[in-house]
Symmetry: C2
Subunit: 344 residues, 2 copies
DNA sequence: ATCGATGTGGAAAACGTTATCGACAACGAT
DNA sequence: ATCGTTGTCGATAACGTTTTCCACATCGAT
């Protein structure tokens, strides 16, 4: 018996197309055709080659294939870190990828996050066009990115950006929160505002104003205090509001972090929540459900963000011309224990 | 001025090494040497080439590089789906990857999960040796996998497996839970057991027995009822236990899912928890903290699992011979409102 | 002047695929 | 008999890197 047919594995341990061809007694061209179902191979040989393939357990090298073709059928999702927000987005993205013919891989910047600025650009240019056909960028604040290919940003804060974006409707969310409080009878509503450089903060504040305007309630400017999305600063702001001569009966914080700080300050001052003070936050982070009392807040549709981002990305990759590349998704109220009717 | 230096981009939009070489007036070999810091190129030309590289924004194609080299310096993490458990593991893995020189990518099976059996094998053989140097497998139950390279499984259930495994100590966790109840004075402790085919269930039950033995409390076999990790079956089991002639004062469920079912049944029957019945679960899923009352449970060190799995994988990739390839990590008690001293 | 060192650069093969194109046989039609 | 036609298959050139090896020049020493 000839030992010619002996399968010699590569140093890698992988079976290569060469080996399949040799074992089947045909050329690599033929094997390739069989695999890709190209026309021009007798059904007889096709079956034989397939038999050899499964016997040897051959799997095509994705790397070689990607080098030859330009498409990889993989889309990447880049996150700075796996915190709750990006994790939820990731889940939504995973849902959307089903049956699309694409695969999803998630990259964390973790590897070498020496300087935060520009990591997106670098990570992107590394993978784009070689490992993935397009990318979803999940980032706290989008710095502008020179992109080599289709990119969609999921960004809770920036809003408008030069690249296609899916974001949640911060304006509507702010309105929702304040409408909720107005509906409970509150008329003096304080607000702890967010980071002034982020459009999300600006929009949430605008929502606060719009809700007041729509209800015909004048805004007392002294009730808006800067919290900067920062717990310490928010604590300070809460103290300012709650020790006023005529303190508000409710506080809308631009951020759950800030809202939780407000709850702490209220507890320190012996102010009962929601008896004497209602508090509403924004984001619905996991801690909020566990707070005492559980925090009423505005929920961002995080999974939906991920879902719509990959849907949009796939459309872009397929060469479709999208009319509006800025999607904003609606937020929802999550009413919990920290808000109640005024003067109860 | 000559237009020779005009940069012609590929169809891909990427700058290639050819273009850099042409622009710099050297050969591709030289460019490659400069990039990889090989010996044999004058510092003068080196600087010049580097200047051209940054001017053109060149980034090496990872695909081509991977095809040539056998190492990719990427490790993959395969999950069936992004549920809470695998997500936490992922976070731990991301932590462990920092500064290791590797990058982490996460694959979800989502793409084509037509048949669940064997998806691990197929996904693995697709990426292994071409896209990644090794993989961490996060899977509900490890089916044995023919692996082409270094693989570490993170498996909450199977325990012993042919491949290197990181798992949590189910035996110790079971003891912990029952010790907690014994410490509260309970002497008749029911158990809702898990799926009999999983070693995790077996070990948790053994922990139950060990704790009893250590405390010198005899085990009443009629207090062990099969729950099978399934909510409906667990509900049934709870009813059986709570309607006995001499019902237990506490129940240890092999699973948070089962424990929550027990809470529901107790509520239906008008049994006060923790007044007349203490309940302890296992896993600490997110819902448990939100249950009424919040569930006392045993927490698996999920992040640590991920962390140790990549640490082990990196060691394996580096060719280290590991003495013990089966790591089991300790669990911890999370005491919440569903357990209290007996007969309070 | 000639010979080896030494320093610098490029040509070419290889990694594992896929696509193009041509070779060759078989065969029915003229 | 000759000529397209059709069906089957294989050689070969890419894709963008890295590495090995060879060529050439310069220079100090005999």
């Amino acid at each position: 018996m000839s030992e010619e047919h002996q399968v010699t594995t590569t140093h890698n341990g992988r079976v290569t197309m060469q080996q399949v061809a040799a074992e089947a007694g045909v050329s690599v061209s033929t094997v390739s055709k069989v695999i890709n179902g190209r026309y021009g191979v007798a059904s007889e040989t096709s079956e034989h080659v397939n038999a050899v393939i499964s016997r040897l357990g051959y799997e095509a090298s994705l790397v070689a294939r990607s080098l030859r073709n330009t498409r990889t059928n993989v889309i990447g999702l880049l996150v700075m870190d796996f915190e709750p927000f990006s994790t939820e987005v990731l889940k939504g993205a995973a849902d959307a990828i089903r049956g699309s013919g694409f695969e999803l891989v998630a990259y964390s910047a973790g590897g070498g996050v020496d300087d935060h600025i520009g990591w997106e650009s670098r990570a992107l240019s590394r993978v784009m066009g070689t490992l993935v056909d397009g990318a979803v960028l999940v980032t706290p604040t989008v710095t502008d990115v020179r992109h080599t290919g289709p990119v969609v940003a999921v960004d809770p804060h920036t809003g408008r950006s030069s690249l296609p974006t899916v974001t949640s409707d911060n304006l509507q969310g702010g309105r929702l929160a304040v409408d909720h409080l107005l509906g409970l009878g509150h008329r003096r509503i304080g607000m702890i505002t967010g980071r002034p450089d982020l459009s999300s903060a600006e929009l949430r504040e605008q929502g606060y104003r719009d809700a007041h305007a729509a209800a015909g309630v004048p805004v007392d400017e002294s009730l808006l205090v800067l919290g900067g999305y920062d717990p310490e600063q928010a604590r300070e702001a809460s103290r300012t509001l709650l020790t006023m001569a005529e303190p508000p009966s409710a506080i809308f914080a631009a951020n759950d972090i800030s809202a939780l700080a407000t709850l702490e300050v209220a507890a320190e001052l012996g102010i009962d929540v929601p008896g004497r003070l209602s508090v509403v936050g924004f984001d619905n982070i996991p801690e909020s459900a566990l707070a005492d009392p559980p925090l009423t807040t505005v929920q961002q549709p995080m999974r939906q963000l991920g879902h719509d981002a990959v849907a949009m990305l796939i459309a872009l990759i397929s060469g479709a011309e999208i009319e509006d590349t800025h999607l904003t998704l609606e937020t929802t109220m999550v009413a919990r224990g920290s808000s109640a009717a005024v003067g109860r």
